[in-house]
Symmetry: C2
């Protein structure tokens, strides 16, 4: 069993988890469009064309055939719909895509579609608007109040998120964010609906949680892992504690059965001061939360490999210990030494 992690970026720990899971019974390959230290930790790596390049898919297929790669797992949002759309191309070569259905990847990458999807299945949503006129109407009729957040509709992490506290800030920051979106790589996604590329959301006061909803390779619900977020850094969970899933389980099953994602779904939640749970964002891949689950005794990479090998769900791999606090430590690491002649 050989595995390819595409868009591996800087998630070295994912390469390590998969290497440990394969335990020499197969290789972990990693790909990315630029060289990173993470790639060097894989058994083998390859630099790919840009995700949007016409040659991206055929390049990956050729590489998989050449290296006898059995399955692909992607670690980057933008990569997911591109792979998913081409599922049949991979399947023809007996390469399993451990990537969600195309529709699910589009919903997760689009905060406005995420809002509509979750609202549609009855999950608490903070009031959200896709035009500034609607947001202003909601402000003036008292439906929402400051502070409100402005976010790139197709954004990732904490890039380009602004908090507006009054009308002047709303006007100026809305224009600013709209301009910034079209100055950055977000313009590719945002071109789909340029006038509606900023989502405006009522801020929620409360405690942030992260849950991961695990479906099997037939996209059926398996289990959920929950964490209380204690500190964030650049939009990623930096310190967290594993907690009981009880109050998140119904929400998780509801999302699972409607989204029909494959493997892990990384979900951001808020519990407000009344104990009401809101779901804010979803990423249908291993996310920044997963290490907190892994160090608490879970091994999703091993379970995915077992499934790929036709084995059943092994609950020993999916039992999370609650009350485990963890952080992301910084480890200074040499990438490259130039020869000094």
């Amino acid at each position: 069993m050989n595995i390819l992690l595409t868009s591996a970026g800087r998630r070295t720990y994912m390469v390590e988890y998969f290497k440990t899971a394969l335990n020499g019974s197969g290789k972990v390959f990693a790909s990315n469009s630029v060289l990173t230290h993470t790639l060097l930790q894989a058994d083998e790596y390859v630099l790919t064309p840009n995700i949007y390049d016409d040659q991206y898919i055929s390049f990956l297929v050729e590489y998989c055939k050449q290296k006898s790669i059995n399955a692909i797992i992607s670690l980057f949002d933008i990569d997911l719909p591109v792979l998913s759309k081409n599922r049949s191309v991979f399947e023809k070569e007996n390469i399993k895509l451990v990537v969600s259905n195309y529709e699910a990847t589009l919903i997760c990458n689009d905060k406005w579609e995420t809002y509509n999807f979750l609202k549609g299945i009855g999950i608490n949503q903070t009031p959200s608007f896709i035009t500034i006129a609607e947001a202003k109407a909601a402000l003036s009729n008292g439906e929402i109040s400051y502070p409100i957040y402005l976010k790139p509709r197709w954004g990732m992490g904490s890039i380009g998120i602004y908090k507006a506290e009054n009308d002047a800030e709303l006007d100026v920051l809305y224009k600013k964010l709209h301009r910034e979106i079209f100055d950055t790589y977000l313009k590719y996604e945002s071109a789909a609906d340029a006038e509606k590329s900023v989502i405006i959301q009522q801020a929620i006061k409360g405690q942030e949680y992260g849950i991961e909803i695990l479906n099997d390779l037939d996209c059926k619900y398996v289990t959920t892992f929950a964490k209380k977020k204690i500190a964030m850094r650049s939009g990623e969970t930096d310190i967290a504690e594993t907690v009981d899933i009880k109050e998140f389980e119904d929400i998780a099953k509801n999302i699972s059965v409607h989204l029909k994602h494959m493997a892990l779904l990384d979900v951001d939640c808020f519990k407000n001061n009344d104990g009401k749970i809101f779901v804010l964002e979803m990423n249908c891949r291993f996310g920044g939360q997963y290490p907190f689950t892994h160090v608490a005794g879970v091994d999703v990479p091993q379970q995915i490999i077992n499934w790929l090998n036709g084995k059943d769900t092994n609950w020993d791999l999916l039992h999370i210990q609650t009350g485990v606090s963890a952080c992301k430590e910084i480890l200074p690491t040499i990438i490259n030494k130039k020869l000094n002649i």
Copy 2:
């Protein structure tokens, strides 16, 4: 030789570097006002009162006496002037403060004083203003142009930095930042000059560099380490490459002789497209750049311990290999497991 690292925060690598340097010949103690994983990596640790608490200094002195600690090194900006102001209290107990003179700590913690200090010794400065009226005058007479940055005068890292691209953004973001400063812990420093708590700076186009200027314990210039910054994360250097110090050396010596800091000074520079070097910020402590120097063959912790032991400068410890690229890898780490009864 026992060393105490105060305000150790999450710089685990600094604890490790000092433990390696002492190599069992003494202990590394770490202190902080809240528990972190870093503290647990020290030989012993202690939770202190808040830095601004009346009991902070007497608490540290008592702890040092009790644990036979010979020297204190602080890793946090806010801590530096508080310690420095009380140098005589520590010295009376034969505890060496490896902390710069009080004046230097105040200059480094205050971006407006940094600007005035550096301008005063003839180092290139980007045009900077401490009132919005002066910034607007400079904009209208063409002395500066958008984009311009607004930063908390007493801020740290990338917290609260806004980029303004036009008059409307300047007005709104200036008011916003001023309000935010007084909503956060920055209010303590900013209370010193509330009306002048935001610094407005012309943005510089170019390449960012980091240099570290090493003075000995008599505050005399020793050497400089230089790095090209390749990626930033939350205001800290995340990927960097060591480079030749030649074009930074005169600037470094100039700063060293005038600031008279002790041990390391962490300095942010920009080289614009004409090759002109600007100095933006200074921190008189080990900063986020140091790991990039350390992995390139330098050992400042060992040199500081040697100096504390009365030994001479050992140039073998201070030779930096250029062309070494490094990154800060993420290492998921358990902090604490609650008992689940």
